[in-house]
């Protein structure tokens, strides 16, 4: 190897462009799109969850190690790497563990009016939360610990899909104190 300056600019200056094309506008980039299609088949635990969801039932998974409940169910307790076989039906009420007010529209969701509130919904009886939309009140009213309930789609619109719940609305019940709100699965492990 020589001790030439190997910066990209220096190297490319040395390339001899053939005379037949040297006066022409050079190609500087190439479009190379890719599109891959998958046939996604969820695991039996997720299938069971989706089918129950179409009946307005929310299933969680209970860990055989310490009874912690995970929702949505994935068939495994992620803290211990053990399979979970026990399903438990959860209520569709809970509280806001954390939230964020979004002001920018996102691609593919023209139905979402900005600003909207994304929240971590902690259902009664579950140890972890999941992402949900909070609506049915002023965005300013949303707070950690706020009690919420699911607003489901009409019967004929239900399907095997996460879209069955339109949003979570406040119930007006007394809020969960901030020290007791949010993710408790980790606390259990440290007990």
């Amino acid at each position: 190897m020589t001790e030439a300056d190997f910066s990209p600019a220096a190297l490319s200056e040395e390339v001899e462009i053939p005379e037949s094309i040297s006066g022409l506008e050079p190609v500087r980039s190439v479009r190379t799109p890719i599109r891959l299609v998958y046939d996604f088949v969820p695991s039996p635990s997720v299938q069971e969850y989706l089918r129950s969801y179409s009946e307005r039932k929310i299933l969680g998974h209970r860990s055989p190690v310490d009874g912690a409940v995970f929702v949505p169910p994935r068939g495994v307790d992620p803290r211990h790497g053990v399979l979970i076989e026990e399903s438990v039906e959860l209520s569709d009420r809970g509280h806001v563990g954390n939230f964020c007010v979004t002001h920018l529209p996102i691609p593919g969701r023209d139905d979402l009016d900005t600003p909207y509130v994304s929240a971590w919904i902690h259902l009664d009886g579950a140890n972890v939360g999941f992402l949900g939309l909070v609506a049915g009140c002023d965005n300013d009213e949303v707070h950690i610990g706020m009690r919420v309930q699911a607003v489901w789609k009409e019967q004929e619109e239900l399907g095997n899909t996460a879209e069955n719940i339109l949003y979570w609305k406040p119930t007006g019940e007394p809020s969960v104190p901030i020290e007791k709100a949010g993710n408790r699965a980790w606390d259990r492990t440290n007990e």
């Binding site: 190379t32 088949v41 969820p42 790497g81």
Partner: protein, 375 residues
């Protein structure tokens, strides 16, 4: 593959060569393996599959995740159709309290190499390596086209079997092999795999005539010349020195491990051979003693023949007793499974010394060789 990457590998390879000369390597062994392959994984998802395999692998030698020093996995987001898909699979490890972990977007055999290097550094004494793939969910032949030269080749979307067919035709037309020889390899795979619960395509009594009369599906390759794509996964535990001896009665010691890569440009290579496979085997120490068995990772019968030549495998070496990738080929795991197959036969006392091989890239472009030995 750009040249910067290649030169980094040359530097690492040189470093390892220096260590080899001064014999300052730590003895590292495979002490536990678990694997599963099936045509289509339907009862469980990849996370549940791996939770089972990883638990089995740890429990069989009585180690907990807390005792594992380093975890490294191999898998492909493009295969799963999801960015960071491997993070979901960490659920199967039980990664809490937080673990020291790494991932390669490659076959698990290369994750094993990274774990081996980590053990050489001396900071940890045990490592968990795992890999998996669920090709049934997507179109693997299109997924693999995306690894090719993005300007000149990938926009033509050549599938992996067609490229392998180009290679096979060269061998046939240059007189380096025959259809009959290729069918013999296919027959060997189906016979050998018969007793392997992981093998998908097996037969105790398929004849050479049956095989040679099969339809040509990717000219000139017949059905059984091409690997049987399968879902599955594999988990392996490595341990160093005394730790290995305390965990396993007869560890499968890694006597040498090396990997090399040829140019990514198909037209530059002589596809009738694989210089990187030859070099990896040489550097791993293939020549220093006899080989009882070899597990070689070829996607076609023609590729197995190329590897037999590059590794100078004689009739004394049992080749692909598992059936090889022709019997069950799980993208991202087939290479690690080859290592697991050799290791388990050594640990059981069945064999003493073996060569395990893993490949990556089109037409045997990149190759890893691992020599394992019992005491």
């Amino acid at each position: 593959m750009n040249l910067q990457f290649l030169s980094k590998k040359l530097v690492i390879a040189h470093g390892i060569e220096q260590m080899n000369k001064t014999n300052s390597f730590r003895d590292v062994a495979v002490v536990s393996v678990a694997s599963h392959q099936t045509k289509i994984l339907s009862e469980v998802n990849e996370v549940q599959l791996m939770a089972n395999l990883i638990s089995k692998c740890r429990n069989s030698i009585g180690v907990t995740q807390e005792e594992i020093g380093f975890t490294c996995s191999g898998s492909s987001d493009f295969l799963a159709g999801q960015a960071f898909s491997f993070v979901h699979t960490l659920d199967s490890v039980g990664a809490f309290p937080p673990i020291s972990e790494s991932h390669v977007e490659m076959d698990g055999a290369f994750a094993l190499y990274e774990a081996w290097v980590k053990l050489q550094i001396g900071e940890v004494d045990t490592a968990l390596v795992y890999s998996y793939g669920k090709p049934s969910a997507g179109s693997i032949i299109d997924v693999l086209a995306t690894q090719l030269d993005p300007y000149y080749v990938a926009p033509l979307w050549p599938d992996c079997f067609s490229l392998a067919a180009l290679q096979a035709r060269l061998l046939l037309e240059k007189g380096l092999t025959t259809f009959e020889r290729m069918s013999e390899i296919a027959m060997r795979s189906q016979n050998n795999g018969f007793d392997n619960p992981n093998a998908v395509r097996t037969s105790k009594d398929i004849s050479l005539e049956n095989l040679m009369n099969e339809p040509v599906i990717v000219d000139p390759l017949r059905t059984s010349d091409i690997s049987e794509i399968a879902d599955g996964g594999c988990a392996v535990i490595l341990a160093a020195e005394d730790k290995a001896k305390s965990l396993c009665e007869r560890p499968a010691w890694i006597k040498g491990i090396d990997h090399r890569i040829d140019s990514h440009s198909l037209g530059v290579r002589d596809l009738t051979g694989s210089p990187s496979a030859f070099l990896a085997a040489e550097k791993a120490g293939r020549n220093s003693d006899r080989l009882d068995l070899a597990e070689i990772h070829g996607m076609t019968s023609a590729q197995e023949l190329i590897l037999e030549k590059e590794f100078s495998l004689s009739e004394k070496t049992h080749i692909n007793l598992s059936g090889g990738a022709l019997a069950a080929d799980t993208m991202m795991a087939s290479g690690l499974i080859r290592i697991a197959e050799v290791a388990s036969r050594i640990m059981s006392g069945q064999m003493d010394r073996g060569l395990a091989h893993a490949t990556s890239g089109p037409c045997l472009q990149q190759n890893l060789v691992c020599i394992l030995e019992g005491k």
